[in-house]
Structure formats: C-alpha cells, structure tokens
Symmetry: D2
Subunit: 277 residues, 4 copies
C-alpha cells in the first residue's frame, strides 16, 4: 500500500539522515522523497511516499520520538479525500470538479454541494450529489454562516472548496477549518483583492488577467497561495470578456490546487505554502 | 516609402468608409489597416500603413478636414526614433537595448544614457553612446531632475526610457514628456506598486512574478500599461532569486513595449493603451 | 440584430473603401471590423459585425456585385451553431463542452454525441442530449464511418467536433464536411503526430507538452491549426502524468477553438487559418 | 565554502539514508538536497549542496566506497565554469551571454568566442573577450571542425555553447565533449528539426513558436533537452516576424539552460535530462 508521510519541524543537522535511516531500518520502500528547508525561517519540510507496512509500531510515534518537540508528523489518510463544495451561481468550477470526481481524475469525493442560490441544483443532482440550498436572504451573515456550517458538518469533510462562492465567511466559521478551506479568487492576487476583480482589471487596463487558489484564513484574500495562473488580454476585451476568459483559468487553477492538496503535496508555512508538485 | 497614419477621434457612422475612400482616391496603397472602437467611450482608433505618396497635398490636413473637430491625426515620422535612456545600476535592460539598437533589432537609436550612478558608464561607452553621470547626492530631488532634464533636452529624444531607473521623477519633469516616458516596473502591476516589489512578492508567497512596461504619468506606477508578462516561481525562490529570475522578464517586456512604441503601434486612451501588435 | 459578414477574395486596391462605403450607404452600423491581407498570397479577409438591417436587398448579392468573381461572401447565421460531437472513452473534453453549452458559455447547441464505445453514455444523458453508441467492432472502417455518417446526418450539424475521438475517419467521410470538422490533437503539432503522443513526448524528454485544435482534412493531423497551447513538464512526469496534465490543456484549447469557430472568427486560408480573436 | 555533490547510480533501498548519514557523520552541513528516482529505469539521482569541509578524507572516494560499483560521484568545481562560445552571425544570444558574464549574472566566464564569420568580432571585442574567426570557406567540413577544435582546446573549456552556430559539427568533434556542448535550436523540438525552422513553422501555420536548449550528441537536434519555452504567434506573423519574435525566446531559453548547467543542476539520463531547478 502506498502511503505518504508528512513531517515539518525546526531544521537541525542530520534530519534527513535520521528520518531516512528510521524508515530504512523499519523496512519500508521509499518511492519518492521531497524535502525543503526554508532558508529564512530554518523550518524543515519533508514529504515521503513509501510502499509497505512500517514493520514495528506506529510510524508517527516513531518519528516524533526521533524529532525535537513541536515537530508535526502526519501520515496522510490513504483513500479519497472528502470534499464539500460551496458555490453561488456560476457553474464552471463546480462542473469541472463534478466531472473530475465522477471520472476519478481527482483523488476525492464530493460529499455535498451547498449554495446560497438554487441555480446550480439541477447540475449537481445530475451527478447524484446531495445539493443544499441555504438561502442568505432574510437572515444575517452570522446566522447564514451557522446554517452553512450545520449542513457542512453532517458530511465531515476533509476540505471545503469555495468554487466561486461569492459571500464572505465570518472568522468564526473560517477558524473551524484551519488550512482546510480552499478558495478560487478571480484575480492574480494580490492585484485586485475584494469584489469585481475583472471590473478592476478592465479599468486599470492590464494586459494579463489571472486567478489564484489559496487557503482561506481570517483576512479576506490574504491566505496562503497554493497556485496561480494567467492569460493574456488586450484592449478589445471588455470587463465581461475578461470575466468570460478568466473562467477557464479559474477552473484549471482551482482544480490543480485541489489535486495538489488532496494528494498531500501542500504544506502551509506561515502565510505561504510549500508545494511539492 | 512605407508610412504610418494614426487617427483617433470620437466614433461616428461611416468613419472607415470615409477615411479609406480618401486614401484610395489619393492613390496610396494600404498594406495594413487596424482599427478599434472602444465600446464604452465610443472612441475610434485607426492605424494604417501605406505605400506611395499621397498625391494631392498634406495627408494630415486632408484627414482633419474629413473628420470632426478634435480628431487627432498624425503621420508617424518614418525613420528611427531617438531614445534617451535613464538608468541606475542594473545592466540587464540597458544592455539588452544597446545590443538591439546596435544590430538594428529595434527601430530606434540611443542618443544618450543618463544615470544617477556611474556604474554603467563602461558598458555604455563600449557601444559608442554618450554616457552622462548625474549624481543625485548633495542635491535635492527637484534640482536633480532639472539636471537630468537639461542633459536630456540636448538630445531632443522622441522617447525617454526608464531602464530600471530607481528614482521617482517629479511631476514637473513627467509633464514635459506626456506619453513619451516608458518605464519598466519589476512587478505585475497593480500588484506590488512602489519599492522592493520582489521583496513584497516573496513575503506574500506568490507563485508567479512579472513585469510591466507602462507610460509614466504623474501618479507613480499608475500610467497606461503597454505590456506585461510573468514567470512561475515556487517556495524555493528567495526574494533574491525572484529578482534574478525577474530580470529576464523585465528586459523582454521592456524591449517588446519599446518595439511597439517606436513602430507606432500604441495609442494612449485615457489611462489605458490600444496596442495594434 | 447583430450580424456577421465574412468576405475573402483576392486583394485589390480600395477594397476596404468599397466594402465599407456599401455598408455605410445601406445604413447599417458597423460595430467591429477586422481585416487582414496575407502578404504572400495577396488574399484579403474581412470580418464585419454590424447592427441593423441592410436596407436594400440581399447583402451577400450586393457585396458579390462589388467584388471580383471568385470572392466568397457569407452572412453568418445569427443563432447558435448546431454541433454533433464524436467521442470514444475520455470524458474531459466532452464534459467541458456539455457544461459550457448547458450554461450558454458557448454559442452552440449539442445536437447529439456519437461514440464508438458506450462509456460516455451516462454522462451525455445527464444533460438530456441524445447519445449514439456506434460500435466499431465486427465491422470494417468504411462501414463504421458510414454508420457514423448516417447518425450524424440526422442532426444536420453545422460542425462536427472530435472530442478525443480515437479513430481515423476515412477521406470520404472527411470530404463531406470541408472545414467543418474540428479535432483536438493531444500534442503540440507538428510534434508527435499519430498515436500515443504523450508516450512519444515522454520518450523524447520534452520539457513542455501541448495540444492543438485543428480542422480535419484528408491528411491525418495535417489540417489547418486553429489554436494551440502548452504547459511545462519535467523529469518527474511519467507518460501517464503527462497525459493527465495534458487533459487540461486539451479541453481548454478545444473549447477556445470551438468558441472562435462558432462565433465566426476563423477563416481557412489554404492549410492555415486566419483567426480574428 | 559551499560545495555541490552529484551522485547517480542504480537505485537501491536505503540510498538516501546511507548517503546522508555519511555526510552527517563527517560533519558537513547540508543546505539543499534534491533527489529523484526514475520509476522506469530505477536510476537514482542526487544533488546535495553543503557547507563546510568533509572532515575525513576525500568525499568522492568515501561515497564511492558506500555505493555499488558503477555509481558516478562528482564534486562540482566550486568556481566559475569556463565557456567557449561558437557563433555565426546573429548577435542576440551571444550578446546576452556577454552581458550576463560581464555582470556576474551567470556563474561562468567566456574564455573565447569562435565564429565562422567575422560579423560578431566587434561585439565580442567590446567585452575584452578573445575572438577567433575560423573561416569555413575553401575548406571541407572535417578540416573546418578540426580548426575549430584546435582553437577551442587552447582554452580548456568546461562547456561549449552553440549560440546560433549555424553549421553542423561532425560526430568526431561532438564525441570529444560528451554532454558538454549546449545548443539552442530555434524551434520547439521535436517540431521542425533541421534547417529553417521558422520557415517550416510559418508554412505549417502554427499558433505557437518556441526554442529548445539541448546537449549536442551525434544525432542532429536529437540530444537531451535541457529547457524549452514558447510564445504565441498568429496569422499576421510572416516567417521573418516569427524569426524576430523567436530570438527573444532563444536567448532566454539558452541563458536559463546555461545557468542550470553551470550551477550543476542538470544530470543527463540516457537521452533525457534530470533538472533540479
């Protein structure tokens, strides 16, 4: 069975030697090993794929015993990750993920889709996925977020995916899922934070537009960036044309970021990510 | 002789018919024609390359007579454009332009290079181009800009090129050269305006960095964008690595923007550009 | 009503003047005009979007009367284009087009999907689109193509789309739909023509892979290219990883090419295309 | 002192553990470690940057003693690499490398430039670099290559760089510098091998052009690819425009490949490369 071991801790001399000796001695076969030491923070990150069973005891405990206190050691769950997707009205990101999951092109299952409009219900139901319409009208932000949370928790997701979910989630909500909410922002962050980035891009007259997938934290559009991509535009593009062209980038950037996250290739490091792609 | 006619004016029905009939009737041969009507401002832009002499009188006057008052009509000067380049210490953009001009890869001549450090003098002099070191120490911003201006004006340049010139030019200086100063900013504007964009990019943890060539106006880093490009980076890049990788984008983006400007392919339209590339 | 007029003919002096005068005199309002003269073949291409009714008679006849014999003049049908999609087993391109058409992100309707395997039937039927499984086993190539043709013709499509259709269509089939069959080839043509391009790419050790959308003609993988795009790969990519990463490029390149074709932005010019994007 | 250790050998269980333990025990400080096991050939590649002196004996011998016979172990020379550049008439790649080396933007020195035309002599001499014009007229291919070789050997270069050298080097020449000759080919290989790739690209009507940096081996344009990049083109590009636009890609791709090679980031693996960028 293929497994993934994830370690991050303060760097010290001989870490790779120590960790790899331990794995070797317990008889597993390393098929891929990636590591990185941040030269500024002196923090060490390691992602190891191995085959075979760890012959003697619990691997996480064995590793922690080797490392200084404070080291984070995690054995990734080997199966598909459970996703709940939040959306609003736009189908392109959601549709793309639905098809990927339906055809095993993403190591994940969509447990449910939760939207603040009912527009996307018919699409979701085509794929046999539960759809929840949680109306945001006639309720305040906190109550709406609480209603969302209540639905989400029924599914015990590994990750929440904001697939063009156009509302801001309050900090109390966000803090429940640290580094487990992935958003696609429809601009090349940090350009054009906030609302209507394509309108902003049009008005600024940029020649390239982009999209950014990031983890969500308490500061809007400020979370650790997982991936970004761009496409060229020109003076013939209206704001609407930019939005239309941008959708292709959004869905590909989100899908690629999701793929990296569910394959356990992404570490969060302060407000940044270490991505072993 | 190949010539370029540039027209921009408020749009009205039948403009293309009117203009092209006039050109046809005077016997010139249109080899390339590009036009654009901004759907928001209803402003019309046209760039026409033609061969042959306009048979009857002055083409600019003839066109103005056809068009509503306020139309801008310009016959581009057919020869090489005269550039003065401003720099500081970094050689990559300057060196790239020097070689292009030396080998006719840019429709321009470098009349002089003016720097606030003397670092680049030996490079410039290799190419037989006048170099002026205008020290900014022991003088205030206005006096330094005035000293630069005094040198620049000796050469009557068509365009000033800020090839990593690391000082801010005061508005009085800028206003003397409307849409005639081209800057390369070492970020993907509007992300990371101001100083140390690579440091900012590093701290934000972006996955793509870029460069922006733009006309300079009174607002720092806010002028009309001519061109932009980007390259991917990752967690292994330090701020210094980003700066190093970014230099290649900077020089290519600046050179491409310059090429479009000196070939008369760029209109300024409010705070944007129309680029017939 | 917005309409699109498409003209291509041998170039001659004054063509733009002549055509635009005719349009102006008949009272239509040109909203966008794009033209191109191939400097080698001296062939002229013009795409004009206009609003309003042509006040006097048939516009195509009026234009033909203006132009030399042999000119092609076409008024694009204003509604959605009718597509029939051919597929085999892979869902990514097909799924992407299904969602675009379902949400009006492509100016087209999918009339039917025809496959030589039944794998994709359940996906197609989710979207209420007729699915035809035309088995290629126990039949020869000509008979299979004839069976496909028979199904296709029931739907009178404007265009056939080969969305990863993995069989070669015989010349007799292709010749029935000149410049009306669009294929996505999973490589950056002309690199890696023929079968298993990702395997070829892997074996050659390329650092970039790509996809090509092209019109199909009698020579396999040799038809006029509409669009291409690429993504970087590295030594860690197996042939299978390349295929997986390539799927995202394939679907975006195909969708973009289709969008240009159904919006009447593409002329075929010998073995090339003129694309007014 | 920062050093780079390069190991490649048949993979076996515990290699990373063994190698990193040895380094740890001898007291050096690993600052960066990259490894890769080719899943098809089961070959192991490792690049380790470390600081400090290996405390006990010769590191290469120590490592070889650890590893199976046939392992290649190499300690990269720590200083600048010595380059000899071969060119013909085009200045863009050569000029770019001259400026980089003059300003320490490449970890290399240019020992000499050797050309089969004298066009570039004045450029080279500006930078105080020896220039050798080795005329190919009135001599046969073998004699010309021998004359080149004779000049090259005076400088004992680490690498030869073909910076748009437009002649084919005979196999006897190439075999003297295995994996030490770097060429820039002006197409996106394997598309358009051989002569006039831009003309070929123009005739095929591609929508993207590119450049490829590769090691030279006995088969023309077939050597291991180090890096590639592309830029979009369209129907308005003539073959000449493509060549002109392509020059920017060529020089950037070559410079980036050179940078990776002189920083000891590139392993050759059969007909491919492993690039730790």
């Amino acid at each position: 069975m293929r497994q993934v071991l994830l370690i991050d801790c303060a760097d010290q001399k001989g870490l790779v030697a120590k960790i790899s000796a331990e794995l070797f001695n317990r008889g597993v076969n390393i098929t891929s090993n990636r590591e990185f030491v941040d030269p500024v923070t002196r923090h060490f990150f390691m992602r190891t794929e191995f085959e075979g069973e760890f012959s003697d005891g619990d691997i996480v405990q064995a590793m922690k015993a080797l490392l200084a206190p404070g080291a984070r050691v995690r054995l990734a769950s080997p199966g598909k990750k459970r996703l709940v997707i939040l959306g609003t009205k736009e189908p392109h990101c959601l549709g793309d993920i639905l098809i990927r999951c339906a055809y095993n092109a993403l190591n994940a299952t969509i447990e449910a889709v939760v939207c603040n409009h009912d527009t996307l219900g018919s699409l979701v139901e085509k794929f046999g996925v539960p759809f929840h319409f949680v109306d945001h009208r006639n309720t305040d932000r906190a109550a709406h977020a609480e209603a969302i949370r209540e639905v989400v928790e029924r599914y015990s997701p590994d990750y929440l995916v904001l697939a063009k979910y156009m509302r801001i989630l309050p900090p109390e909500f966000v803090s429940r899922y640290p580094n487990r909410i992935i958003n696609i922002h429809h601009s090349f962050l940090p350009a054009f934070v906030g609302a209507s980035p394509y309108k902003q891009a049009y008005e600024r007259g940029v020649k390239i537009i982009g999209a950014t997938a990031h983890f969500v934290n308490a500061d809007l559009d400020q979370g650790p960036i997982i991936g970004q991509d761009v496409i060229p535009v020109n003076h013939r593009y209206t704001a609407r044309d930019m939005a239309s062209a941008g959708r292709d980038v959004e869905k590909i950037v989100l899908a690629k970021a999701l793929s990296l996250v569910v394959d356990d290739c992404v570490f969060v490091s302060g407000n940044k990510t270490v991505v072993f792609d």
